[in-house]
Symmetry: none
Subunit: 209 residues, 4 copies
């Protein structure tokens, strides 16, 4: 029988459970994520979890919203230090890299909740995802206005490509590390670096007036 720690505020309990869920996700990944483990890590009974969340999937949905919120925040902070749009975009790529180094199971989480079978409402997640897209687009548009970025490129499309490219590289770096032979001879930061440089050189406005 568990004792103590009663009479926390409901919101704190939710956060406590969410934190435990976060740890479990990091530990074992989505595939082996179980409510039992969440309860154990939160040091509460399994039933208690269900007092605060309707289902396992609801926890996961909420976790994903937190994840992308944090990512957006990270992007905002990372870009604040820069003035030039291209530098801002570079900073975003590096921020994403560092973010997923710390929170690498979030990839699985996002893939999980984006599956068609997942029927929990993920409006929160979608909304923040859209905010990230908008945030990046606004940087591109600003850069085009200031003549820093090639104005013939479609901002929306461009952001999608940058985003996809960057995520792809990050995932590659993370998952292939243990598999590819001679991997230690490949400095992973350098892979990111090249990728970022490539992106930058691909979008720069080389027709200065």
């Amino acid at each position: 029988m568990k004792v103590g720690s009663k009479h926390q505020s409901a919101e704190m309990r939710r956060q406590q459970i969410l934190s435990a869920a976060d740890l479990v996700l990091i530990d074992v990944g989505i595939e082996d994520f179980t409510i039992d483990q969440v309860a154990v890590r939160a040091n509460i009974a399994k039933g208690t979890v269900y007092k605060y969340f309707k289902s396992k999937d609801e926890i996961l949905a909420e976790l994903s919203t937190k994840a992308v919120s944090l990512l957006l925040q990270t992007f905002q902070q990372a870009t604040a230090k820069h003035n030039r749009s291209i530098e801002k975009l570079k900073a975003i790529c590096w921020a994403a890299y560092r973010y997923y180094q710390t929170h690498n199971t979030y990839h699985e989480l996002l893939a999980y909740i984006e599956r068609p079978e997942f029927d929990i409402n993920v409006q929160g997640y979608i909304k923040i995802s859209q905010s990230i897209q908008d945030f990046c687009e606004s940087i591109v548009i600003e850069g085009q206005k200031k003549g820093e970025i090639n104005p013939t490129l479609n901002p929306q499309l461009l952001v999608r490509v940058i985003w996809a490219t960057n995520i792809g590289v990050i995932q590659f770096v993370q998952t292939k590390q243990k598999l590819i032979q001679n991997i230690h001879e490949t400095p992973m930061d350098e892979v990111i670096n090249i990728s970022v440089q490539m992106m930058a050189s691909g979008i720069v406005n080389d027709k200065k007036d």
Copy 2:
């Protein structure tokens, strides 16, 4: 009691099981992949499966080797028609895109076996992956020799970046389609196209002598 196909050579049995497993994977995906279904499709008893494979994960590991082998093959065919190195690399990117469109459950498979918890030896998979890397590297090196590709780039690193970028874009296209708002306004082939162009322009040797 099953009849017929008894007393095949051990290797043939393995292949028979693997083929069945492949069909099951294509049919139902990783999540619902079960040994029961493999046995049914292979028309053998479940116990027999375990005579040839230690575990479900071992089957999956071997399947992944088949998957990357097929990918390598696809790359070889796709590049055969081209002479210029950059065109070959472009062809590889498009071939990968088409490959994953046709075999999209292989993404799941690869993600599954690449998870840290997956403790089966995947030397076969790693070896072929390495072959793919080598194959791509040889194209880059050849291109540098012929003056088509910027010679200052490290071939190994470059291939990793191209590969990562490409896979990332493909995954993005496949998984994000259903979620992101306004996605139908984004022509997915165009995302790939931009990505490929970017890659090409990033590596071309613009300092012709």
Copy 3:
């Protein structure tokens, strides 16, 4: 924290809980009857329920007492309009039919508490059931005195038979409706009617002096 209705007398609280339980039972049936819902409907805390009732089953037991009390009341009203004993008995049968049409979850309740595993004391229920039996018996005895009912019949036994027959027919009508083929060709009221007629003709005193 709930406010208002505090510091009621213990008896009032019991009734308040019982009323809530009644509503829950009518709403969702025995199968889905939960203490949670009772507490919500009573607008009190779940723990409070347990201050007034030892267990869920005790609530159900008391509810059954209320149920049969209402049934007795219904019988008393239904018979008041009639003078002849046989008409009174007929009226009782029809009243029971209508009662269970309106309160059909009470059938489930009674079945539940009458199960052998049910180990709560149901003296209240038994007592009212006995009152119903007595009430019916008195009608029979009166009818025999007035020469309307065959005097050779044992009143207690007769009432049991009438009662059982009637309940049986009602249950049949209620539960079989959805299953039995051609059921729509069987007018259910007619089944009740025949049963009532049979009963009446079986007990009438046809040896008038």
Copy 4:
């Protein structure tokens, strides 16, 4: 780990499980009927149960089919010894009484599978139920032809009334025994007897030609 008793025929295992389920049902009733208990009683693992039955409800459906089959059989045997239709009907009533004395939880079972939420196919059960109805109707029709039964009565309706009446009386006798005060002063067989007599006198053809 359980051992032994392998390699029974599949049909025998099904029957073994069904028998165990039958015992569990008799022991604890529908409400507390669990697969765990079935497995324990059958002395097999829980998973084994699911090799032979898709779900708990499928077991229950099959049990119900067995139950009504046995009932039909009982009726056929009970009527064989009699020539006169009314005697046959009486015999059916008594047979039902004896049947439910032995298998008294079948009432719950039948009520359970007849609930609208029950979505397993119960065609087997419905078919046998219909056979019972047909069997009884044919006796009535034959009796009317031979002039033993009042020919103005609708056979289908009449059978329903007899059936409902009889089941009602039986249920009453079974469930009320432990509740009703002075019940031991009421010979239960006598209740059945009166009921049967009433039925018989209600349908006899008293206008002999």
